[in-house]
C-alpha cells in the first residue's frame, strides 16, 4: 500500500535579505495525520507555514499540497486548505456572524448564512455571534479563527501556534477541535513551541532547527532516540558506587551522581529496561533502595539533545 501525502515538500528555501529563514525544508505529512512542527522562535516554523499556504513564494524547492503544486497551482491549493495563525485572522470590526458569512461567501459555499450558524453553534459562539469580534476574549477569537478556517471543510488545515497566549481552558477547546478534525480525516499541520501540545496532538513531530527539519518521528520514537532516564536512591551512601556499577551495566550510559540525595542516575539506551528488572538487579547486587524510577525523556530534553547535540541527531 502506498502512502498518500497531504503535504510533501522538498528543499524549500526562503531568504529575507541576509536572513536565510529556510534552508531546505523537507516534509512529508501522510493524509489524515496530525504533524507537529516543533521548534524555538526563529527556527523557521512560521515561514514554513507561510510558504505552504501560498502566502510566500519559495526561492528554491517545491511542494505539493493535496497533490497540487504550491506555486503553479496556488489557486487550487487555496481551495483545499484552511489557515489559522497569529497572522491570519478575522476582521475585528465585523461581528462573528458577519465574519463567517463573508468567508463562506468567498468560499462559494451554498447557504453561507446556514454554514455560519452551524459553525458558531459547533464552537459554542452563538451567544456572542452578533458582537464585534474585537470585543471577544482571546480564546473565543481563536475559536472563531478556527471556525473561519473550516468553512469549506479543508483537506489540509494549517495551524500556526494555535494556542499561544490562551489560558488552559482555551487551549483545551482548541485541542479537542483538532482531535475531532483528525477523526473526520482532516490532515493537520500545526506549529508550536509547546512540547506538551505536540506530544498531545501530533502523530508525527518534525523538529525544526535553523531552517531545516533536524529530526522527524512519532513522539515515542523521538523519545526512544535519546533513551529513558533511570535513577535510584540508595539507603547507604557507601553503596552508591556499587549501584552505579549496576546502572552502568544495565543502561550503558554514564552514571551521574547526586550525593546530597544519595542518588545515581544514567540515560538508558536500552528502551526495554523495566523498573522491576532494575530493582531486581540492584537487589541481587545487595543494594537496598529507597526509591527507583525510569522516566521517558520529556520532549524538551529530546529537543535540546537533538538540535544541539549533532552526534545524537546524526
Amino acid at each position: 500500500m502506498t502512502t498518500t501525502y497531504a503535504v510533501l515538500s522538498e528543499g524549500l528555501e526562503k531568504r529575507f535579505g541576509e536572513v536565510h529563514a529556510l534552508r531546505g525544508l523537507d516534509l512529508a505529512v501522510p493524509e489524515g495525520t496530525v504533524c507537529g512542527l516543533l521548534g524555538p522562535n526563529g527556527a523557521g516554523k512560521t515561514t514554513a507555514v507561510r510558504l505552504l499556504t501560498t502566502l510566500l513564494r519559495p526561492d528554491a524547492g517545491s511542494a505539493r499540497i493535496a497533490g497540487h503544486d504550491l506555486v503553479r497551482e496556488a489557486a487550487a491549493v487555496r481551495r483545499v486548505i484552511g489557515v489559522t495563525g497569529q497572522y491570519a485572522t478575522v476582521d475585528g470590526d465585523l461581528t462573528g456572524r458577519q465574519n463567517l458569512r463573508l468567508f463562506a461567501r468567498l468560499h462559494r459555499v451554498r447557504g453561507p448564512a446556514e454554514r455560519a450558524d452551524e459553525l458558531l453553534d459547533r464552537f459554542g459562539l452563538t451567544e456572542a455571534a452578533d458582537r464585534p469580534a474585537s470585543t471577544w476574549s482571546g480564546g473565543m477569537r481563536r475559536r472563531l479563527d478556527l471556525a473561519a478556517s473550516l468553512i469549506r471543510r479543508p483537506d489540509v488545515l494549517f495551524l500556526d501556534e494555535p494556542t499561544t497566549g490562551l489560558d488552559p481552558a482555551g487551549r483545551g477547546a482548541i485541542w479537542d477541535a483538532v482531535r475531532e478534525l483528525k477523526q473526520d480525516g482532516t490532515t493537520v499541520l500545526l506549529t508550536t513551541q509547546y512540547l506538551e501540545e505536540a506530544d498531545q496532538l501530533a502523530d508525527d513531530i518534525a523538529l525544526v532547527d535553523r531552517g531545516r527539519v533536524a529530526q522527524t518521528g512519532s513522539p515515542r520514537h523521538l523519545k526512544a532516540l535519546i533513551g529513558s532516564y533511570a535513577e535510584v536512591v540508595v539507603a547507604d551512601a557507601g553503596l552508591l558506587a556499587r549501584a552505579a556499577g549496576v546502572l552502568d551495566r544495565l543502561t550503558g550510559g554514564e552514571p551521574t551522581f547526586d550525593h546530597a540525595r544519595r542518588a545515581v542516575g544514567a540515560v538508558s539506551r536500552d528502551t526495554t529496561l523495566t523498573l522491576p528488572r532494575l530493582v531486581r538487579e540492584l537487589d541481587a547486587a545487595g543494594v537496598p533502595l529507597l526509591d527507583a524510577r525510569i522516566e521517558p525523556p520529556t520532549l524538551d530534553e529530546v529537543f535540546l539533545r537533538l538540535t544541539d547535540d549533532k552526534e545524537i541527531a546524526a
Binding site: L55, L56, V83, G85, Q86, D91, L94, L102
Partner: protein, 260 residues
Amino acid sequence: MSTLAYDGSAMLGRQLLRIRNNPALVILTQTMPITMLLFFGYVFGSALAMPGAEYRSFLVPGLLVATAANGIMTGMFQAAQDVHRGVTDRLRTLPVSRAAVPLGQAVADLVATAAGTVPFLLVGLAVGWRVEGSAFAAIGAVALLLLFRFACTWVGIHLGLLSRSEEAAGQLGSATFMLPLLSNAYIPTDNLPGWLRTLAEWNPISAVTTALRDLFGNAPVPEGAAWPVAHPVAGSLAWCAVLLAVFAPLAVRAYAHPRA
C-alpha cells in the same frame, strides 16, 4: 471577470458592514471638511482681499478636492490595518481573485465618499456656494471628483500594503494633509513666487480643483497657469489616468505577493 465581480462585491459588502458597525468614525470623517469650510470660509475669508461670499464659493471646490485627496490617507490606514491585524493574510489564503480585495476597498471608499459629498454640498449651499454653470457640467464635476478620489485611494492602498506598521501608516497618512496646502485648493496661486506657483500648479489637486471651479462655474481658469491647470479637465483626467495606471497594478501586486 465574473469571479472578480463576485469577490469584489463580497469585499465591498464587508467594507460597508464595517461602516454600519462603526458609524461614529464615518460621521467624524465626514464632518471634518464641513468644519474646515466654516472655519476657513469665515476666518480666512475675512482676511483675504476677496469678498467673504466669493471666497466661500472659491473654497467649496477646493475643499471637495482636498478631501478627495485624503483618499490616500484613508486607503493607507485601512490597508495597513488589514495587513497588520492579519485580515489580509487570511484573505490571501482564500480562493479569492487577487484584484478583488483592493478593488472592493476602493469601491467601498467611493460609495462612502459619494454619500459624504451630499451633506458637504448642502452646507456649501447654506454658506453661499452655487452651481453657476450648467447642470450637465456640474454632474461632470462630481464624476471627476469621484474619479480623483478613486485614484487617490489606490495610491493609499499601495502604500498601506507596504507599510511597516499601523503607526507608520498613520504618521505618513497624516502627512498627506499637507498636500492641499501647496495647491490652489485654499488660495489662488496667481500671486505665488514663480517656482512655487509652478510647483503648486503641477500638484494634481490644483488641476482637479480648477476643473471643478470651472465646471461648477465658480471661478474662471487662471491666466498663464501651468498646463494641467490651464487645461483643467484634460489635466485632471490625465493625472487620474497616470495615478491609476501606476498605482492600481502596484497595489494588486503588493497584495498578491507580500515580501514577508
